[in-house]
């Protein structure tokens, strides 16, 4: 077995993890499975591409890679803007669609609405940007030895660091800050949270914005490592849900751990069984978890 799967698996897992945090937050705070979460990933990637394109037209040369990276200054500027834009997009979708359905109807209507939103957003993105794959950069990256005989491209290393920083940041946010405590409180008991003075509506909006921003970061990563396509987020939906459920739905550290298991599992499967089996990994994990331990690794029994 080639130890290189560890690098591929970690990167893949980090990317799934960034997306799975949003899925698990939406599920635990709003109690529905948001099928449109994949589209936040796609939206984020295209938003970053459009902004980076705009910056590159204004500032000549800002689209050249930085040092060994093929990540340009224009993209480094565009990524946080795209995260903010995707956060706003998630808030708008909640305002226009989900907020109207909350409380008034059964939760299955909200899930179906999210499915409809997923299709509509994907179609709109395809309409604007066409279905032809796009790239942040055409530069080729050469993998270099790092340690223990493992190789990674400079982009992979940089993105792994960024994903790690984001995950640690989210963990600290949830465990150490007032808004983090409020999110945990609302997910456990919204009525008690209200009695304790928590503005539940504001907390819900924060969770949407955070989920959207992290999904956008995953989209930019995926765009840099592979390509940007209208289906990129939707195709990631199953691994996102598998990671969130494996980790115990509602648990953010659980979603990180679940994502790493899925990421490593996919990388291992590609090497041992072939790339055509990759998509089966998330399915198998999902079925196994639901059969053996539906509450997930960190979850509490429902």
């Amino acid at each position: 077995m080639n130890p290189q799967v560890v690098v591929d698996g970690l990167i893949n897992g980090a990317l799934i993890g960034l997306g799975a945090i949003g899925v698990t937050l939406t599920y635990s705070i709003l109690r529905f499975a948001n099928f449109a979460h994949g589209e936040f990933i796609t939206f984020g990637a295209y938003a970053a591409m459009a902004i980076a394109g705009g910056v590159a037209t204004l500032v000549v040369g800002s689209d050249a890679g930085l040092g060994a990276l093929s990540i340009s200054p224009a993209l480094i500027l565009a990524a946080p803007l795209a995260m903010a834009l995707t956060a706003g997009f998630a808030l708008a979708l909640d305002r226009i669609l989900f907020a109207r359905l909350r409380g008034a109807s059964e939760s299955i209507s909200i899930v179906m609405a999210s499915f409809g939103a997923s299709m509509a957003i994907r179609a709109a993105i395809e309409f604007v940007f066409t279905s032809r794959p796009a790239y942040f950069t055409r530069d080729l990256q050469i993998a270099r030895p790092i340690a223990f005989g493992l190789k990674a491209t400079p982009n992979q290393i940089a993105l792994l660091i960024v994903a790690g920083v984001l995950m640690v940041g989210v963990h600290l946010l949830l465990s150490r800050t007032q808004i983090g405590r409020a999110m945990r409180a609302v997910s456990e008991n919204p009525a008690l949270a209200r009695a304790a003075g928590v503005d539940v509506d504001m907390t819900i909006r924060f969770a949407w914005a955070l989920g959207g921003a992290l999904a956008s970061a995953a989209g930019v990563m995926l765009g840099l490592l592979v390509q940007i396509r209208p289906f990129m987020g939707f195709d990631l939906l199953l691994p996102l849900f598998a990671a969130a459920i494996l980790g115990g739905i509602g648990s953010v550290p659980g979603a990180f751990a679940g994502a790493l298991v899925i990421g490593l599992g996919e990388a291992l499967t590609v090497q041992l069984a072939g790339a055509e089996w990759r998509a089966a990994v998330a399915f198998l994990v999902l079925i196994a978890v639901l059969l053996i331990r539906p509450s997930g690794m960190a979850g509490r029994p429902a």
């Binding site: 405590r181 456990e188 009525a191 209200r194 009695a195 003075g197 503005d199 509490r300």
Partner: protein
């Protein structure tokens, strides 16, 4: 009487689903520094009444005034800022959060300079909680949970505290302890509205009481007088103590 009332509920109709009112015209008043008990059989609407006052059950009609303000339509999270605190019966703490985080959460809307001192004051008042501050609240005993629920509700120095069956599920010794704490809290100037199945203990503590039946006022008066009233005793005092341990 109602001039001195800090809390007044007039002809309340409230419930959880439209068209199915659980409170059906009940009115209660509580004066500053008073302990008022709400008694009555299961399903009388006692809990729903205080939940509607807390903003956690829907008010169809009627009026809720607190400390000179109309609370109708005010979101629940704003009512604690007005000085009206509520400790629910079940799931009265955040089980997946530490004792400390439960208190920090409740301190969230205070000015940052006051947060630490108020949390410290609660640990002084409830030394048991101070010893367990790092423990997940879900691992506390029933009595300690009730203490945490009360500490959480008192954290922001409310003018009034509403409690839904603070004795439920507690051992008789702990009920005594909790009720003694409630007497202390009242002596510090806080008005208390108490929903109880444990009628004897509630009437021993309270100044006045209301007996609700089917969402309406049935009896009201001084706690002492209700305790000695043979009709009340026959209707509501016989055997209720076992019901309290639900």
């Amino acid at each position: 009487m109602s001039e001195a009332a800090i809390l007044s509920v007039e002809r309340m109709v409230a419930g959880y689903e439209p068209g199915l009112p659980i409170v059906n015209g009940a009115s209660i008043h509580a004066a500053r520094g008073e302990i008022v008990a709400l008694l009555g059989p299961n399903g009388a609407g006692k809990s729903t009444l205080i939940k509607a006052v807390a903003g956690l059950a829907a008010l169809t009609s009627g009026e809720v005034r607190f400390d000179g303000k109309d609370l109708t339509g005010m979101p629940a999270h704003m009512r604690i800022r007005e000085g009206l605190a509520f400790a629910p019966q079940n799931e009265n703490v955040f089980a997946t959060m530490s004792v400390d985080d439960n208190l920090r959460l409740a301190a969230g809307f205070l000015p940052s300079a006051r947060r630490a001192s108020r949390i410290a004051a609660m640990y002084d008042a409830f030394p048991d909680l101070a010893r367990q501050r790092g423990l997940l609240a879900g691992r506390l005993s029933g009595g300690q949970r009730q203490m945490l629920a009360i500490a959480r509700a008192l954290l922001a120095e409310p003018k009034a505290l509403m409690l839904d069956e603070p004795s439920a599920g507690l051992s008789p010794k702990f009920v005594e302890f909790v009720f003694a704490k409630l007497a202390d809290i009242r002596n510090s100037g806080v008005t208390i509205v108490l929903v109880e199945q444990n009628t004897r203990a509630a009437l021993a503590l309270a100044d006045r009481a209301y007996v609700l039946v089917q969402g309406r006022n049935r009896h009201e008066g001084e706690a002492r007088a209700l305790r000695d009233d043979p009709t009340i005793a026959a209707l509501y005092l016989g055997g209720v103590e076992t019901e309290g341990v639900a």
